[in-house]
């Protein structure tokens, strides 16, 4: 009896330890998710603009971002005095977006309804009060008149900005593409040793001239548009009385946060979220959207999946179905499992040496010799990045597929063979379909790993800012040699490498939340697919 009771006591303790460990794990995961989600979700919510009157007579206007106890400078211990961190913006005037204000020095605070927040293309946010709007034929000085004129003018400027962008992306991009083609054709003739005065060269030269003329035409149009964009400015007064003229063409939007109702706030939130997800980054990625990074991440993961599945599944089928069990297959399995433990940066180095310089260099020498010494495939790109990640994740797919295959009973294989099916028929019609859920599990794990991987990509084609997406309107439409942006690297770059880390923090949280959302939704899709397959393949029994 005594012994039994002792055993029960020990079992209880062990149960408690394991349950406690699980609870701590869950708590940490949930905590992480809640932190990221709440910070990420609140990044676009408009905060009230607070005007401060300080003890020394100065004034300030800004958004309160945090509040903390002030540490005693001598002991480092926290005192009862509190201070607040205020985003005051106006970086072009003050040099910093944030300042600390001791609460003891605040004489009064208010939330003026007419205080305005300007989101600008450059220099970040501006906080102040509008005093005038000046443009060709307009000179408004009353708030009502200013906003009326501004709405009209700003719509014009936004249209002009869009037009400029469309010209840059469209006609000018096309002309550049054509000019590059002519240049490559000329180089090709040089390389082939053609005479300097052939008819072909004359045609090319003539074509180049027409293209350059077209380019000059577009450029002139562009310059005219840019000039018109520079006209018109909104004059604002800051909290400490400085007047500043902001070109209307530089303004993304104006917000009167203290005057917004809930509906207005929601609309603004949606607008900012939309800009974040579908917009392009600006100000060294610390503002604007992250669409190129989002696109690059998803495309890279998809490409990686396309490559890793056939590769891993075929390898696993060979190992499990064809290879005779022995020291050789055991050695291969050990190697595969160890491959999963190799630091990812090592894969990056291998990808650079093997894919980029080896295969890419060879492709360039064979097919893109005209462009050399500018590399085409001989430099990092989305194809090589995907292949590198495929290599990194192939062990996961192999192991999961092998488990899936092993779970198909030998009796089922024999049943098929006894009907006169060959080994290949058995494999393709019975074994692989039955093991498909296992293969999908492998793919899920591989995608989850690949979407979050950053280190190896830094040397095989991921960049801070890619001028073009890997997919566009120029044939062959999908440009696998292009460099790409990635959410993981974006987080690192914006959060830790940008000159203005404090101002970018909300964006970092939002980007993190988005990356987690992508990984989770990719996984969920694959899990749903797998479950559907499972229910279709097998009944409740067995």
């Amino acid at each position: 009896m005594t012994r039994d009771r002792r055993k029960t006591g020990l079992a209880d303790v062990l149960t408690w330890i394991t349950a406690g460990a699980l609870a701590i794990d869950l708590l940490m995961i949930v905590g992480l998710l809640v932190l990221v989600a709440s910070h990420g979700a609140s990044a676009f919510w408009p905060r009230p603009l607070v005007a401060f009157e300080l003890g020394d007579g100065t004034r300030a206007l800004g958004e309160i971002h945090s509040r903390e106890a002030i540490p005693d400078p001598a002991t480092g211990l926290l005192t009862d005095a509190m201070r607040i961190r205020v985003r005051v913006g106006n970086r072009d005037l003050t040099g910093a977006d944030f300042r600390w204000i001791d609460e003891s020095k605040i004489r009064a605070r208010s939330e003026p309804a007419d205080a305005v927040l300007l989101e600008r293309l450059e220099w970040g946010a501006f906080f102040g009060w509008p005093i005038a709007l000046r443009a060709k034929g307009v000179d408004a000085r009353e708030p009502g008149a200013i906003w009326d004129a501004f709405a009209k003018l700003h719509a014009e400027k936004v249209a002009t900005r869009e037009r400029i962008r469309a010209i840059e992306r469209g006609p000018i991009g096309d002309v550049n593409y054509e000019i590059e083609k002519v240049r490559l054709a000329e180089r090709h003739l040089d390389r082939m040793g053609a005479a300097p005065d052939t008819a072909e060269r004359a045609t090319l030269a003539a074509r180049k001239q027409t293209l350059e003329a077209r380019y000059a035409g577009h450029l002139a149009e562009l310059n005219a548009l840019r000039d018109s964009l520079a006209d018109g400015e909104l004059v604002l007064r800051t909290a400490d009385g400085v007047e500043k003229a902001v070109p209307v063409g530089q303004i993304v939007r104006t917000v009167l946060p203290n005057a917004l109702g809930l509906g207005g706030k929601l609309a603004l939130y949606a607008e900012r979220l939309h800009e974040f997800i579908l917009g392009e980054p600006r100000e060294a990625n610390t503002e604007g959207g992250i669409f190129p990074a989002l696109f690059g991440t998803v495309m890279m993961v998809m490409l990686m999946s396309l490559m890793v599945v056939p590769f891993g599944v075929v390898a696993a089928i060979y190992l499990r179905e064809y290879a005779r069990e022995g020291p050789f297959t055991r050695a291969i399995r050990i190697a595969v499992n160890n491959l999963a433990g190799v630091p990812s940066i090592v894969f990056g180095v291998f990808g650079l040496g093997f894919f980029v310089y080896g295969i890419g260099g060879t492709i360039d020498a064979l097919f893109f010799a005209d462009a050399l010494p500018t590399p085409t495939f001989g430099t990092g790109g989305i194809l090589w990045a995907s292949l590198t990640l495929a290599l990194l994740t192939v062990p996961v797919v192999i192991v999961a597929t092998e488990e899936g295959l092993a779970a198909v009973p030998q009796a089922v294989r024999q049943g098929s063979r006894a009907l006169g099916a060959t080994q290949l028929e058995t494999l393709l019609r019975v074994v692989v379909p039955a093991a498909a859920p296992g293969m999908l599990t492998g793919l899920i794990l591989a995608m989850a790993r690949a979407a979050g991987e950053v280190a190896p990509l830094m040397i095989v084609g991921m960049v801070k800012l890619a001028p073009t997406l890997p997919v566009d309107a120029h044939p062959p439409f999908v440009h696998l040699e292009r460099k790409f942006m990635h959410l993981g690297f974006h987080i690192y770059d914006v959060g830790f490498q940008s000159p203005n880390v404090e101002a970018a923090t909300p964006l970092v949280f939002a980007t993190t939340a988005l990356l987690i959302t992508i990984v989770v939704s990719l996984n969920l899709t694959a899990i749903l697919l797998r479950n559907r397959l499972r229910t279709r393949m097998a009944g409740r029994a067995v």
Partner: protein, 265 residues
């Protein structure tokens, strides 16, 4: 090649043998598992293989459609004649052989597919594409396996949702769908309850009108109930082979008598 004198008793004369096993020996690696077995399977009759565990009865059965080829380290000597040809002849297409000599296993092994797909699998493998033709084959095979009435409403549901006995009959239907001439059953009822067993036995008696059947069984009563001929194997040798009634009523060998009366086994 001269083979040593057979230690097995002289084969019983069977008028129309579907399969003739002739001095068949089999080794797993260095272990002799079958020693000079000779017997005939009568056409459109049921032949039962009985004997204690490890006597080689399943091994013998699996030789007849060469399923032992799939086991590593198996070596065979002797002949098995089917349609006047030695099935071990290197020119024999083993998959064509297995189409003509179907097999049902001890544990039911339906594919993780629908009932319909399970039965249609064999015909598809052997080249039947037309949907209407497949529908006909599936219905016919399920009727022949006495399963049609139970599953006709749910052909597209997973075969794994059927009961154990239904699964085993589905496996029989699956084997019948490729229109074999011989059906080999390896302890088909060992995992089934008495009701399901009775159904299968009834089915076997029905099927022997059209197929030559060999069945391995542990169950003496079953052998006595369903089979026309019985072979008793012990430690890899064929101890006694004869008409079931005679073998059970008046065994010539003492070992046979001991076994069927339950003195060992």
């Amino acid at each position: 090649m001269t083979l040593p004198v057979s230690p097995t008793p002289p084969p019983v004369a069977i008028e129309k043998p579907a399969i003739r096993v002739d001095r068949l020996s089999l080794w797993y690696g260095d272990t002799l598992a079958l020693d000079q077995i000779s017997l005939d399977l009568a056409e459109r009759h049921i032949t039962a293989f009985i004997g204690p565990s490890g006597c080689g009865k399943s091994t013998l059965l699996r030789c007849i459609n060469r399923m032992n080829d799939l086991v590593d380290g198996v070596r065979v000597e002797g002949r098995i004649l089917f349609s006047d040809r030695d099935i071990f002849d290197p020119e024999v297409d083993v998959n064509a052989l297995r189409k003509r000599v179907g097999m049902v296993f001890q544990k039911s092994n339906p594919f993780p597919k629908s009932i319909y797909e399970n039965v249609a699998y064999g015909p598809r493998i052997h080249g039947t594409r037309s949907k209407s033709e497949l529908d006909g084959i599936v219905e016919q095979a399920l009727r022949a396996a006495a399963l049609w009435e139970e599953v006709r409403e749910r052909l597209q549901t997973s075969a794994l949702e059927l009961s154990g006995g239904q699964q085993q009959r589905l496996c029989i239907a699956r084997a019948l769908a490729v229109e074999p001439e011989v059906l080999l059953l390896d302890e088909p009822c060992s995992a089934l309850d008495p009701v399901a067993t009775a159904k299968i036995e009834e089915l076997l008696l029905e099927l022997k009108q059209r197929y030559s059947i060999a069945i391995v069984t542990h169950n003496m009563q079953q052998a006595a109930r369903v089979s026309d001929y019985t072979a008793f194997l012990y430690l890899g040798t064929l101890v006694e082979f004869g008409a079931t009634r005679e073998l059970f009523v008046a065994p010539r060998e003492k070992r046979t008598q001991d076994y069927i009366t339950g003195r060992f086994g």
